[in-house]
Symmetry: C2
């Protein structure tokens, strides 16, 4: 069973993954690792993944058989396990709990060589709708406090499978960075009686220098204090604390914003590795006024080194105004 | 002039490095980057760095000439600049200041192919004494609030020069992660009237499972909630908030602990890339009781992906007890 351990100083939690414990010889230098060979995520190989928990399928095709356009399956090597009671205990001065949670893979397409930026808009919309379904379902489990949706694209962004996919991890705690962001937004609201993200949208749409793309429902922009070159956020214009509360009628516009932004990044940066993370509320009711869900996309262009690890203080060599200009002109 | 910008939500600062602005074509894929060729840090090339601010030299050799065993020079491409007044201003809802600060390079040896783990103990002690000198000097500047000492070893840990060196960045703000760590330690002290790091030392020295190395003055251990495989901390046994306050008589023991620990990591992990960061107090007097300086060494073995960025929540595939066992048996 994986174990969750709490740092006694700053209070952040770590998953210690005992089951897939890696010995020194398992950390091969990067060059030796290759992606390729048999793909368990391709159509026809449904028996090589755990049974699906959600899918978009042609009418009449049974689960775990061909005929799907998107599948969600449990991760075969999960960081956390869904079975069992949540046990919290101490170990001297330290705090730990067993690794209860969910770890799922969203297989975005049955075809091996498609990517999120080349998929038709309808397929991107299905990816977003799958996120929604899984968040709503996982939030019903009272042991779980936060559902994190993210995508690693490219080996150097951490993807271990080439086939286009995203991941969902449901956690028994609210992670520190998520809590800090929501608290930061709350402090701003307490002081100004306005949502900080709504204020950002207003200022950026007036200023335009950092706006990359806009449609009726969504805006892509490079944030004022971008930590990474070409970091890009996608925000809904309508204030809403939680992604899964978004009206279904807005999903086509969200898909268009995500697809268009990823295509621009791909064009300007020659298909860069990237990570994106869905930032959404941990308790939609409580955070209703002050939090505003959004996507953060981080192309992996620079190496994050000691300085950044130690301080949370980033050095970004590309001003976001310049990045936005490149991205506006792309396509 | 580089610019410091504050994230309006969580309050962290970012350096936007306008002067060495990088365009899309500057982010070449990793394979194309090579280290090699002319080295500006080697003995004999003193004119290729900015003038030294500190050095250990043979008696009688003039500054910026051969005859040194260690030099500290300003970074030729600094992330921050020391000249000028600190100007803080707003830009609509955003906060920024100009990039005042210092960015220095500690050249640890005159010889190109030596590393910190192969240097004689006396040379390692000199590296630590150089950190001390520079911290004491930089702390005299009232514009600067924090001095960060760190080392990137190996290309994938962010080193852009092969020649053995560390870096020092002095900042006009206390970075968020540093503040959080010090506040975490303060909360623990307020509750228990004991230093959290002293408590960790007591529990770990009794338990021994995570202890890697020990001498009269220092302990190396893999922390209970290790974020990374083989993450290793070096702590002084004597409680002290700030590195630069350490008695000079303890420097040989500190050098031995650092050298020994790096040699063990090198032996077990085949000369891994790593980052280390000196964690020390931002205001030694104020933090006297609750903060305890230490080194954190993080071998760069896994890729930090979207999940970690989004949450500050790490998945570590090697339990620290196992890592410590490998490291104890090494050498």
């Amino acid at each position: 069973m994986p174990e969750l351990r709490r740092d006694p100083i700053h209070g952040g939690w770590v998953i210690i993954s005992t089951e897939r414990s890696r010995r020194p010889s398992d950390f091969a230098p990067e060059e030796r690792k290759t992606i390729g060979g048999f793909c368990p995520l391709c159509e026809g190989n449904e028996d090589r993944t755990p049974p699906e928990v959600f899918a978009f399928r042609e009418n009449g095709t049974p689960p775990n058989s061909p005929g799907w356009s998107l599948r969600v399956v449990p991760n075969k090597f999960p960081a956390l396990r869904i079975e069992g009671q949540l046990n919290r205990e101490g170990e001297g001065m330290y705090d730990k709990m067993n690794g209860i949670g969910a770890h799922e893979v969203v297989i975005e397409t049955p075809r091996h060589f498609e990517t999120l930026s080349t998929l038709p808009l309808k397929a991107v919309e299905h990816v977003l709708l799958a996120y929604r379904e899984r968040i709503i379902d996982l939030r019903r489990d009272p042991r779980l406090r936060y559902v994190m949706v993210f995508k690693n694209y490219g080996v150097s962004a951490g993807a271990s499978l080439e086939h286009s996919h995203s991941q969902i991890i449901a956690l028994p705690i609210v992670p520190t960075r998520v809590r800090e962001e929501i608290e930061g937004a709350k402090n701003y609201f307490d002081y100004k009686d306005r949502c900080v993200y709504c204020d950002i949208l207003r200022q950026e749409l007036r200023d335009r220098r950092r706006v990359v793309y806009e449609n009726q429902g969504f805006v892509s922009l490079t944030p004022f204090a971008s930590r990474f070159p070409f970091e890009t956020w996608i925000l809904p214009k309508l204030h809403q604390s939680s992604f899964e509360l978004m009206d279904v009628s807005l999903f086509p516009l969200a898909a268009e914003a995500l697809s268009d932004t990823l295509q621009r990044l791909k064009g300007v940066l020659e298909d860069p590795p990237y990570n994106y993370i869905l930032h959404t509320s941990s308790s939609p009711e409580e955070d209703r006024d002050h939090y505003h869900w959004h996507f953060e996309i981080m192309p992996k262009l620079t190496k994050v080194a000691g300085f950044e690890w130690g301080t949370g203080f980033y050095i970004n060599p590309t001003p976001p105004e310049e990045a936005a200009e490149y991205l506006r002109e792309a396509k």
